[in-house]
Structures are given as structure tokens and as C-alpha cells.
């Protein structure tokens, strides 16, 4: 079956001869040649653009989410886990970004419930390219590409940062999985080829490389 959806960096991944798997209607680079564990000792980058996303904005957005039993991060520029995996990030007082995990249904249910919108709640189409950066040297990559001091955040702090990385606007959150620093990054899909190419180049200088989704310590 032909997938309808395609990652904005599909062409770059194809050159790496990945093991493709169809997930959520998109060809996903599940595995890539190379020692992923070694990459995680340096910096590894994986494409997670297949995960479904949506956004909400408007003065009634927070109330609407609570009414639909969706966790709402307490403060602006904070994020929270969704019950079945995935994240919800609060981008402002009245704007939210939601990404499901592979098994999640929150995005789908928001779409079904919200439709074209409700009073003071406006749906936002999100087609962001999604990436994961992981590895013990990941901060060395970050300090070459972004002027936010991620290391200043506490390990348990769930801060959603909207900033620029290599000249591209991104949403970034930080987590630590299996004691490996891990960052999730989202950017406009039309910048994704440039963004991934640039980050991968720096990751390679640091001894890292691209890895498949299944090698992520998430």
C-alpha cells in the first residue's frame, strides 16, 4: 500500500538506506545502518515527523482542553505528558501544541470534537517536522546552534522553549531517558531539510549520526 503521508526529510533518509516501516500512514525510518548505541554516546538524530500533531488557540482553549480531560501544562512555556504517550506544550497563555505518541488518540479525538472550532477555540493545523536529538554530547551540538542554555534547566523541569536553532524557529523540550539527554524539536516542515542537514552535519563532527526511530531511548 502506498502511504499518503510523507516526511519532509524522506529524501534525505532514503539516501541512508533505512529499514522502512509504515506507521500512521507514513514511511518511517525504523532502523538505519550503523551502531546506534555508539551514536547515542555522541549525538544521534532521528526523524519523528510521522507522529500526529495538532494545535489549539484562542481564549477558550485552556477551558476546552480541561473540559475534555486533556492535561494542561500549568504555566506558559511548559509541557506535560499525555496519558498514552505524547506531549502537550503550552506555547502561550492561550495557545497549545499537541503531539500524540504512536499509539495515542488525543489528536484524533481533538479533531473530532473540535471540528472547525468552538467559541473562543480555534484549531491550528500542525504539520511540523519532528525530531529527536539524543546523546551524551548533545549539549555540545546545542551550544553551536542555539543561544538557549538548556543545561540550566533542572532535570525534572518540563519547559517548552520556543527559540531559533541554526536560524530556524523551533519548539524544543528536554527530557532525560535512560540517563541520556534527549531533546524533542519541532520546526516548520519547509525548513526541515535544511534543519536536519545542518544538525546532522554538526552531529557527525561530534562523532554522531542519524539513527532510526526504534533506536531512540524513549
Amino acid at each position: 500500500m502506498t502511504s499518503i503521508r510523507m516526511s519532509p526529510v524522506h529524501a534525505q533518509l532514503e539516501a541512508l538506506q533505512p529499514q522502512w516501516e509504515e506507521r500512521l500512514g507514513m514511511q518511517v525510518a525504523a532502523k538505519l545502518p550503523g551502531d546506534a548505541a555508539a551514536m547515542l554516546e555522541a549525538v544521534a538524530i532521528a526523524d519523528l515527523s510521522h507522529l500526529r500533531k495538532c494545535g489549539l488557540k484562542g481564549p477558550g482553549a485552556e477551558r476546552w482542553l480541561r473540559d475534555h480531560d486533556i492535561p494542561v501544562p500549568d504555566g506558559v512555556n511548559a509541557w506535560a505528558m499525555l496519558p498514552a504517550g505524547g506531549v502537550i506544550a503550552r506555547l502561550g497563555r492561550s495557545e497549545f501544541f499537541v503531539e500524540d505518541g504512536e499509539a495515542g488518540v488525543v489528536v484524533e479525538s481533538i479533531g473530532a470534537s473540535l471540528g472547525f472550532g468552538a467559541a473562543g477555540v480555534y484549531p491550528v493545523i500542525r504539520q511540523d517536522a519532528g525530531f529527536a536529538l539524543a546523546g551524551r554530547r548533545v549539549n555540545e551540538l546545542l551550544v553551536q546552534t542555539c543561544n538557549v542554555n538548556f543545561e540550566a534547566f533542572g532535570a525534572e523541569e518540563k519547559i517548552a522553549v520556543m527559540t531559533q536553532m541554526v536560524g530556524v524557529s523551533v519548539l524544543a523540550i528536554r527530557a532525560i531517558h535512560a540517563r541520556v539527554p534527549c531533546y524533542r524539536l519541532w520546526c516548520d516542515p519547509t525548513f526541515a531539510p535544511y534543519f536536519r542537514e545542518t544538525l546532522t552535519g554538526i552531529a557527525e563532527e561530534l562523532g554522531g549520526a542519524a539513527i532510526g526511530v526504534d533506536a531512540l531511548p524513549i
Binding site: M6, P8, G117, Y122, I125, V143, N147, D188, T190
Partner: protein
């Protein structure tokens, strides 16, 4: 002859590692840890460079990173500063700025012509006769500039990185080290940087005649290195200060953008030269330069020296050097009344003559370097009593007459500085929040005071950040001035240099002031003082003193010039570094590549200009693409268009206020052209608005305008407080325009939407599935044919493209690029904002009054358009056509419309229309030239005039029958 001393305590060299190198073709040998200059001096070199303007022989001046006459070329690496660049094996060095080598430099003839080459001579000469200007230009280009640029050298991708700390301490001398320790002890994360190869600052060479507490530096360094909250970066120059404590740190192969929460500036001072005749001879140097050579590199720069001083530190230095093996033949003190220090007494006991109230009138040359100092007593006027001059034999003259604060970073931070006469120095008066100063830059000189001042500043910085700390009292400034107020002496034969970078003499300043350049900023620009590679570190203070004396003002009243980052030259490779140049690709980029697209940049987008075929020219490819659209069907990726969604109860009202047209009366399922003007009534954007629901609209903007339009909409809604949600969905949607008489058939096979003319009329919009993807389909006709613009989520774009290509195969579908689109739209006379308009074009001038509904209550720019409407238009956009025979010399875009020898307009678009067999175009012309049938002339390349005729537009299918396609 080797000038290398036996091992000196604390020396920076590693005598176990020999390094061989070449200078001017001669072999030299040094040690690891040497700088280029220290190794050269150790190897017996005296002259190590030539001056910029007069090509005078020059030696060591400062050894403090501003010996600009010791700049070297090593292969592709140019303008290496010999006084600080570490020696490396295999270096093949040459002095820059010579014509034929250092010794045989033909440029030295200029020294004899210096009387004819005063400052600013080029302002007054060479502008006539005009014909000779190219000759002079070539000559000056050959003569000026430092170093040789190797175009073949590989690009260095010098990494740039960010870093963060609580307190950045700049300068790792005693006060900086004390500041770092105090701040770190209070709990702050501290980074301390120093431009020298090792930390310690003046403690590494100014030994205060042995009076320092033994091991003081070692103790400080040990504490710093052991401190968990302190990171140390030597050989790192903090080259500028930007807002919010953002400081670029320059290392040999890296630039770090340090974001500190507070900074302590402990940058110390730069020792200043005295000004007397021949003060640039090899062998004349700053006292601190000699001390650096002796204590850091174990190099004795001369056998004997006269020390010229004006402070107590000069005696300590003289004694120190005397003990280090340099025979001090005299100490000359510019001060008359001093109380003898312990060092002075010891010098006297050692038989060194001491002359108080004495200065140096000139240095005499012998064998290419200093042979003697001509000294004399100072008169009450401050001049030297030439009649009582005496000549003192020596190989060197060491100048220790005062200092200038290294305060560039403080100035850049916005600190208010004032001139403190008691220390003869500019000192910080008011510091910005989070900026602190310590040590000699703060006017504090005694070593114990500097340590206390550093601790005070470090503690204050930590307290500023909220770390618990105890306030330290202010530390008093120096009791006696370490700097002489005017160590500058005139001489009838001049060559008394103030600025060694630019060969500026005392008389140059006097002449500049006489010519009216008597403001410090004007003086700087006229004389170029401080504009050379050392950026005034050894010249600005003396320039201020000279101007102050000429104007009978104090240095404080004269003030200093503006300090801007970078205050120290930074290699271009660091600034270029790894470049981040974002570009955007539509989701269909891979499909375009497969189809042979030749890409062009549209803003930061990459778009297919056309699709290349073997053995086919670009022109043929473009015309075939256009022909396919006219005759069958083509498709173009228009995903770069801005795409916005606006919804909510006030959505229609918002659009009415934003655009010039009416949208409240639009039917659901229809689209309408939208024109946007700014408050001045100037066209800034256009697009198509589609009404998807009662309170739900989707609309497009120009490719380059989307971000601005979204930003402006957001801003306006803050003002207007309307109930709308605005979404910039530019990247989230892909868009394909399928156009041509067969487009309905092609699209019809992959969608259940009813595409019949009645069900889906021209300018309609429908939502439904296309190739199993949720889509918005708009019947618009930018290229003048039956066409559909299909918008789908970005991740479904390739699927849609493939489906359309497959469906259109039977009709010979092919993609077309931007060039064909431009041609097709020009045949319809559809304007492109930014190409057919400029920053002054109003809808009236662009013949788009039909898109402006002045009877609305309000829209942005309406008020201006009312005013503009009452005035006669200055130009008019018209369509024109060339006569058939003018195809070979067709005008180009931006060629001028000429009437009576003057400019009457310009061409904005022009192309050959295969459909019409003529060149057609759009042009701005004077309103009285705009009538149909009027003829005007366009001046083309080479000056030839081509006649054009104003014709009605659209040129092609004027009734729009093809795009409406109602019969289908």
C-alpha cells in the same frame, strides 16, 4: 648572537622543545612557548617589520598584542601578530608591508619624502587631472593594505558556539583572579578569560623589584584552577560587548558567544609611549615590553638602556631589568619632585644615574637601532631645555610614562567614564546594571588594593545575581598619578610618532586642529588616529592629550572617541565561521528534482525556475511549458504562497479592515481577489480570500509577504481586539495549481467533487477529498486558463502530485516552473507585487482601483488613499506591445521609458508571448502617455531606443473566456 637569558623563574618557554622556523628567508630557532617576536629577538633580530606609511624600520613596542609593525605573513595566514602568536614549527614568515623584503624594502624611500606626504595629503591631491585617477588608484592599491590575500586558501569553517555563565570576568590579572574567586565563593558559576597565553596578567612580568609576596600568583592560580565553579580560558580575547552581557570570546580557532548574567571588567591598562623624535627606532619600547621579554620568554632585548619614566613603577622596573642583566645607563624621570622609593635608592646605590625633571628630546640611531638618547631638563612650560641637552649612550630606550585604561568593553557596555586628574586616567563613573570594573582599569594600582578591588567587584557581581555575599567597601584609587599628563615633546625635525599604526606624528595633529578638525571624532577621521590594527591602544590617549593642550581644555573636556565592537581585530574566518543560511523547500522538492527542475531562489524558498531537458535551451523549455498549459494541461507547485486561516465571529469584519476589498458580502464557497495597502496607501501584498464558512476564511498571500502579513494581522488584532483566531498555515499546506483546458478532466479522475461549471464555477472554492487527501480546491486563473489550485496538508503533497501526474499522463501533463508562470500571467497582465509595484505604488497608479472599495467604513490605508485620490497621479501602469521587428533588441525589466531626453517611466515586466507572437509588457509611464495607442520609447542596453505602443490589457483572452470555461 643569542639574546636568550639563562632560565628565568616563571618563564613561559619550554626549553626542551626546539622549534625551527624561517623569517625573511633566514633560519631561526626558538622554543615552545615563544611568540614569533620573542624568538626573533632571542635570535638577534632587531628590525622585525616596516611601518605602514613611511616604511620605517620597526622593532618591538609593546609585546602586548598591539605591535602592529611586527605583523607577519605565514603562507595563507596573514597579519599574524608576532608579539603574541605562538611559534610553530615550520613557519615561513615574512614581514607584511614591504616592497622587496624587510631589509631591501624599496618603500623606505617614502621616509625621505615624508615632508610631502602629511596627514590627509590624499584628500587634497590626486583628484585632478581626472584622467590620472586610475593611475593613482592602482598605485595606492598596490602600496596600501597589509598582508597578501591567498584566494586559493581553503575556507576555514571556524566553529561558533554559545556559552553561558553567571559571572564573566574579563582579564585574569590579580584583580580579575580575585574577582573570579570572590564571585565563585559566593556561589556563582564563573568564567574568567584572558587574551594572554597564560593567566596572571601583570604578575607574570611586573615583579615590583622583588617586593611581591613570594608565590602570590601561584597561590591565586592554584585556587582558581581548583575551584569547581570557575572555568578558565587563556588565549581568549573578549573582543566586544553587546546588549545583555553578550560577549564574543575569540580563540585561535573558535568564537564563543558568551551570555553572562553579569560581567567584571578587569582588563587593566595599556602602557603608553612617550612622544619624542625617533621614538619608533628599533630598541625604543615600553618598559612593560622589556619586562615581558625578560620574564615570560627569557629574552634580553638590549644590552643597555635608558629608562624614561614618570611613576614609581618605572624605578621598580628599571631595578628589575638591571638585575635581569640589562645595564641601565640612566633613569630619566619626567617628574621633578619625588620622594625616592626603595627601588630608586637601590638603583642609585648600584650607580645608575637618576635625573628628575628630565625628558628625552630624541633617539639617535646607530647601526639600524638606538645608539643614544638625547635628554634634557624640562622647563616650566613642559618643553625640554634643548640648550642643556646631553647624550646618553644606550642600545635601547624603555618608556614607562603612564597608562591608558583598557576600557573599550566598559565604553561599549554604556558605562559613563570621567577623567580623573588625580590618576590622569579615564575611570568608570557610572556602570550599567550587572557590569563591574576592578583593578587598574578602575584606577586602582597598588597590588594589595587591586586584589581587594577585585574581590569587591566579584562579590558585588555575585550579590547582583542574588548569591548571598557580604558587601565590600570601595577601594581607593592610586594616591599618586601613575601617568604623566603630557609626555609629548615637539621637535623641529618631527618623526616623533603618536600613532605607530598609521605613522602619525605630533605635527599631523597640530595641522589637523589648525584645519578645523578640532573635535576628537573629527580629528580621528582626518588623521586616522586609532583606526589602524591596534585600534588606538597606544595612541588614543596621547591624541586626546595633544588636542586638549591645543584647545586649552582638559582631557575630560575633550572626551574620547566612540568605542565599538570589535575593539580588537577578529579574523574574518571567525566571523564567517559556520554559516547558518536557512532555506525553505516545498514538500514537492524531491518531485521537482526528479523532473529535472532548475531551481531559483524566491526569498529563502527554492522554486523550480523551469524543467530542463537535454539539448533544449532554457527559452525553449519555458515556452514549451507555457504552450502545454495553453493547449492541454500543466501544473505548478505554488506551495510557497502564504496561507492563512482566520475564523471567528469577526473574521469577515477583520478582513474588511485589513484589505481594500469587501468580504462581508462574499458567498460561502466563493473566492475573491484581495489587495492590501499600508497606512500610506502603498500596495504591499495581494492574494485570494476563500470563504469556507460563515465565520471561516482561508486566504493566500504573496510568497515573500506571508510572515509580514501574519505579523501585521497579529499586531492589528491586538489593537482592534476582534474575536478572531488567526493561523499562519504557510508551511502546513502544500498547494498545486493545475491549469489548462484539460485540467478539469485530469482532476476529475481523482476526486468525487463535482467539477462541472455550474456546480463549481469560476472563483469557487470547495472542500473535499482529492486523491484520498483532504483538500481545499479553488478555481482561480492566475495563468489565464481553466485551473484549480489544490491545497492539501504538507505531508500529503507528494501523494497528490503523483496522482495528478498519473491522471494527466494521457493528456501530456507536465510541470511548469516560475518562468513559464510569469510569462502566462503577463499575457493576462496580472501584476506581481514587488515586481510590477514598488515601495511607492498605490492602487491608482497600478490601475487597480477596481480592487479598492472606498465606500467601506474603514480599511488600513483608506485615509491616505482618499488624500491621494484628490491629487493627480504621478505615473500609471500600462500594458504595452513592441512592434514585430523589435524582437532582437527587446527591452528588459527596469529599462527606462524616455521622453524628451528625460526619464518618464520604466519597464516592470516584459516577455515574448508565443501566443501573440510579440513582446508584451507592463511599464510605468507618465499619466499623459497612458492612453491606448500612445507610443513611447524605451532605452535599451547600449542606448538604442525601442518604440512601444500602449495597448489594452489583458493581452491574451481579454474576455477571460478560457479561465471561466463556462461552456464546459
Amino acid at each position: 648572537m643569542s639574546a636568550r637569558l639563562p632560565p628565568v623563574p616563571g618563564e613561559w618557554i619550554d626549553r626542551s622543545v626546539d622549534i625551527e622556523f624561517e623569517f625573511e628567508g633566514r633560519p631561526f630557532r626558538g622554543f615552545a612557548g615563544d611568540t614569533v617576536t620573542s624568538a626573533l629577538i632571542a635570535g638577534g633580530a632587531g628590525t622585525i617589520g616596516r611601518s605602514f606609511k613611511y616604511h620605517r624600520p620597526r622593532g618591538v613596542l609593546s609585546m602586548a598584542n598591539h605591535d602592529i609593525n611586527a605583523m607577519m605573513q605565514d603562507g595563507a595566514r596573514m597579519n599574524l601578530r608576532g608579539d603574541v602568536v605562538p611559534l610553530r614549527k615550520g613557519m615561513r614568515l615574512n614581514a607584511v608591508n614591504t616592497l622587496g623584503g624587510l631589509e631591501a624594502d624599496r618603500g623606505r624611500l617614502l621616509d625621505g619624502l615624508s615632508a610631502f606626504l602629511p596627514v590627509g595629503f590624499y584628500y587634497k591631491a590626486f583628484h585632478s587631472p581626472k584622467g590620472l585617477f586610475p593611475f593613482w588608484e592602482r598605485m595606492f592599491r598596490r602600496m596600501t593594505g597589509l598582508g597578501r590575500l591567498e584566494f586559493s586558501s581553503p575556507r576555514l569553517r571556524t566553529p561558533k558556539r554559545y556559552d553561558f555563565c553567571d559571572v564573566l570576568v574579563i582579564g585574569a590579572g590579580p584583580s580579575g583572579l580575585a574577582a573570579a574567586l570572590a564571585a565563585a565563593d559566593a556561589g556563582a558559576k564563573v568564567c574568567i578569560v584572558d587574551e594572554n597565553a597564560r593567566v596572571g596578567g601583570s604578575l607574570t612580568y611586573q615583579r615590583d623589584a622583588g617586593n611581591l609576596i613570594p608565590g602570590m600568583l601561584d597561590v591565586l592560580i592554584a585556587r582558581i584552577v581548583a575551584h569547581a565553579r570557575v572555568s578558565v580560558r587563556a588565549a581568549t580575547c573578549a573582543a566586544g560587548y553587546f546588549a545583555d552581557h553578550w560577549v564574543p570570546l575569540i580563540e585561535d580557532r573558535r568564537m564563543t558567544k558568551m551570555r553572562a548574567r553579569a560581567i567584571v571588567v578587569a582588563t587593566g591598562v595599556a602602557e603608553q609611549p612617550a612622544v619624542f623624535r625617533n621614538n619608533d627606532l628599533p630598541g625604543v619600547m615600553l618598559v612593560s615590553a622589556a619586562q615581558r621579554l625578560v620574564h615570560r620568554y627569557a629574552v634580553k632585548p638590549m644590552e643597555s638602556a635608558v629608562v624614561l619614566t614618570a611613576n614609581d613603577e618605572g624605578y621598580a622596573a628599571a631595578l628589575d631589568l638591571h638585575r635581569g642583566g640589562i645595564r641601565v645607563t640612566a633613569v630619566l624621570d619626567l617628574r621633578r619632585d619625588i620622594s625616592a622609593t626603595e627601588a630608586a635608592k637601590q638603583l642609585g646605590a648600584a650607580g645608575v644615574p637618576i635625573r628628575c625633571g628630565y625628558g628625552i628630546y630624541e633617539a639617535r640611531e646607530a647601526k639600524g637601532r638606538v645608539g643614544a638618547a638625547v635628554a634634557g631638563p624640562l622647563l616650566d612650560s613642559g618643553d625640554l631645555d634643548v640648550a642643556r641637552q646631553e647624550t646618553i649612550g644606550c642600545e635601547g630606550i624603555l618608556m614607562g610614562v603612564g597608562y591608558a585604561p583598557a576600557a573599550a568593553l566598559l565604553y561599549q557596555s554604556g558605562a559613563k567614564m570621567r577623567f580623573d586628574g588625580s590618576v590622569q586616567q579615564f575611570v568608570p563613573d557610572q556602570l550599567p546594571a550587572g557590569v563591574f570594573a576592578a583593578g587598574r582599569v578602575n584606577g586602582v594600582y597598588d597590588i594589595d588594593d587591586r586584589l581587594r578591588d577585585g574581590a569587591r567587584a566579584g562579590t558585588a557581581a555575585a550579590a547582583f545575581l542574588g548569591f548571598a555575599s557580604t558587601a565590600h567597601p570601595a577601594v581607593p584609587r592610586a594616591q599618586s598619578s601613575p601617568s604623566h599628563p603630557y609626555p609629548i615633546f615637539d621637535h623641529p625635525k618631527a618623526k616623533n610618532f603618536v600613532d605607530f599604526d598609521e605613522d602619525l606624528q605630533l605635527k599631523d595633529f597640530i595641522h589637523a586642529a589648525q584645519e578645523g578638525f578640532d573635535n576628537i571624532e573629527l580629528l580621528k577621521r582626518y588623521t586616522t588616529v586609532g583606526m589602524g590594527p591596534s585600534q588606538g591602544k597606544h595612541s588614543n590617549m596621547n591624541a586626546i592629550r595633544i588636542l586638549a593642550k591645543l584647545l586649552r581644555k582638559s582631557p575630560g573636556e575633550v572626551g574620547s572617541t566612540t568605542s565599538r565592537p570589535f575593539f580588537h581585530p577578529v579574523p574574518m574566518s571567525h566571523l564567517a565561521g559556520r554559516g547558518f543560511h536557512p532555506y525553505r523547500q516545498t514538500p514537492l522538492h524531491s518531485r521537482h528534482e526528479k523532473a529535472g527542475a532548475v531551481f531559483m531562489q524566491a526569498g529563502i524558498w527554492l522554486r523550480p525556475e523551469y524543467y530542463a531537458f537535454p539539448n533544449k535551451s532554457k527559452q525553449d523549455a519555458v515556452r514549451e511549458e507555457a504552450s502545454t498549459v495553453r493547449s492541454s494541461v500543466g501544473m505548478i507547485d505554488v506551495g510557497t504562497l502564504g496561507k492563512m486561516e482566520i475564523s471567528g465571529p469577526d473574521a469577515a469584519a477583520f478582513l474588511e479592515r485589513l484589505y481594500t476589498g469587501k468580504f462581508g458580502n462574499m458567498k460561502i464557497g466563493m473566492t475573491r481577489y484581495a489587495l492590501m495597502v499600508d497606512e500610506a496607501g502603498v500596495i504591499i501584498d495581494d492574494g485570494v480570500v476563500a470563504r469556507l464558512g460563515e465565520d471561516r476564511f482561508y486566504f493566500t498571500t504573496t510568497t515573500t509577504g506571508s510572515a509580514n502579513v501574519y505579523r501585521e494581522m497579529t499586531r492589528l488584532n491586538v489593537l482592534w481586539q476582534m474575536q478572531v483566531g488567526i493561523v499562519n498555515a504557510t508551511g502546513a499546506y502544500a498547494a498545486i495549481n493545475i491549469a489548462g483546458p484539460r485540467s478539469r478532466e485530469v482532476l476529475g479522475t481523482i476526486t468525487q467533487l463535482d467539477l462541472s461549471a455550474n456546480a463549481f464555477p469560476y472563483l469557487g472554492v470547495r472542500e473535499g477529498c482529492v486523491a484520498d487527501a483532504a483538500a481545499r480546491v479553488m478555481r482561480v486563473g492566475f495563468v489565464g486558463e481553466l485551473g484549480y489550485e489544490i491545497h492539501v496538508a504538507a505531508d500529503a503533497a507528494c501523494h497528490l502530485w503523483d496522482a495528478l501526474m498519473k491522471s494527466g499522463q494521457a493528456h501530456g501533463i507536465r510541470p511548469f516552473g516560475v518562468e513559464a508562470q510569469r510569462l502566462l500571467r503577463l499575457e493576462k497582465a496580472h501584476i506581481i507585487i514587488g515586481q510590477d509595484t514598488d515601495g511607492l505604488t498605490t492602487p491608482v497608479e497600478a490601475a487597480m482601483g477596481w480592487a479598492v472599495k472606498m465606500d467601506k467604513p474603514y480599511f488600513v490605508g483608506q485615509r491616505s488613499l482618499k488624500i491621494i485620490g484628490k491629487k493627480p497621479a504621478k505615473s500609471q501602469l500600462v500594458g504595452f506591445m513592441l512592434e514585430a521587428g523589435d524582437a532582437d533588441a527587446a527591452p528588459k525589466e527596469c529599462h527606462l521609458v524616455i521622453r524628451d531626453g528625460g526619464i518618464a517611466g520604466r519597464v516592470t515586466s516584459i516577455a515574448f508571448s508565443p501566443a501573440l507572437g510579440r513582446h508584451v509588457g507592463l511599464a510605468f509611464v507618465a499619466p499623459d502617455m497612458a492612453a491606448d495607442g500612445s507610443r513611447f520609447f524605451i532605452r535599451v542596453d547600449g542606448g538604442r531606443m525601442v518604440q512601444a505602443r500602449v495597448v489594452p490589457t489583458p493581452f491574451y483572452d481579454p474576455d477571460g473566456a478560457r479561465q471561466k470555461a463556462e461552456a464546459a
